[in-house]
């Protein structure tokens, strides 16, 4: 590039105006061992998931503190200012800690799943993110299954007949669908249609203490 500059200057006067627009291309440097090692650090799945977990924890902390600060005590008129302050502080602490834990776990699992899937597939795609999101959602709501199972046992304990379909007694929407799916996957073939319909009907119109039973 340095050799071509005087030629353009001497050839044509109008090309002098174009010269400042030529982008300065810097020489290519091979990465040194330190740079390569620094990049290798971020290729490690454990490091990435831990870092993502820490970031999620920080985010959860901030969010929990902010939302906890907005929480007003129940008996606001009877408390003094200092008591209200202490109450708010405790609320902020509790909420920030719990949401920090939740977000940290979520970030950890998501990042670990995405890293593992991408390394296995050896492709950079959105499929990695989708699978990682599915895994994260599944693990975060896997605990809900225990609730459903307990309710199932309590509700149908001591019954002679085998009740093929069941509905979560205290449903949140995702738990209900999870239970429905679980019942779908575990029932006999001939009652599958009824389970399907009953499950859909109940999960889409759930209320507290609503309880269906197939006769």
């Amino acid at each position: 590039m340095a050799s071509s500059n005087p030629e353009t200057e001497s050839n044509n006067g109008s090309s002098i105006a174009k010269e400042p627009e030529k982008p300065q291309i810097e020489a290519f440097r091979m990465p040194t061992m330190e740079e390569m090692r620094a990049q290798e650090v971020w290729n490690n799945c454990a490091v990435r998931s831990v870092a993502s977990g820490v970031m999620g924890g920080g985010l959860g902390l901030m969010m929990g503190m902010f939302l906890g600060a907005l929480d007003n005590p129940i008996m606001q008129e009877e408390m003094t200012g200092r008591q209200q302050f202490m109450y708010t502080m405790r609320q902020m602490g509790q909420r920030s800690w719990s949401s920090a834990k939740a977000f940290a776990v979520m970030g950890l699992i998501f990042s670990a799943a995405e890293c593992v899937v991408e390394k296995a597939r050896a492709k950079h795609d959105t499929t990695n993110t989708v699978v990682a999101g599915c895994v994260t959602g599944g693990t975060m709501s896997a605990k809900g299954d225990e609730n459903c199972k307990k309710e199932y046992n309590v509700s149908f304990m001591g019954q002679d007949e085998r009740i093929p379909s069941y509905v979560c007694r205290r449903p949140k929407s995702s738990l209900c669908w999870l239970c429905w799916l679980r019942s779908i996957l575990s029932t006999d073939r001939e009652v599958l249609g009824q389970t399907y319909l009953i499950g859909i009907e109940s999960c889409s119109s759930f209320e507290e203490d609503q309880f269906f039973r197939k006769t």
Binding site: Q39, N43, E118, K119, A122, K123, H124
Partner: protein
């Protein structure tokens, strides 16, 4: 070859062999880099650094290429002609 100058002939022979070897190595490197780059890196460059997926793809590509190369080299060097 008539041994007029044994050491000189050996030196030239060694030189020629080294040159051939060097050409072979350079050709191998160039073809390896070209093949694995075309296979692993998507042409729509979205960022300047290699992703993790591309990294693992390149690792695997180089390993396989090397294995295949050494395997074929052994096959060709053992017998006079490749076993068919």
């Amino acid at each position: 070859m008539a041994a007029n100058n044994p050491t000189g002939v050996d030196k030239e022979q060694a030189f020629g062999m080294a040159e051939t070897e060097m050409e072979y190595r350079v050709e191998l490197f160039n073809r390896l880099a070209q093949t694995c780059f075309n296979k692993c890196v998507d042409k729509r460059y979205k960022e300047s650094e290699l992703n993790m997926g591309e990294n693992s793809c390149i690792d695997r590509c180089v390993s396989k290429y090397w294995q295949v190369n050494s395997m074929i080299g052994q096959l060709l060097s053992a017998g006079g002609r490749p076993p068919m």
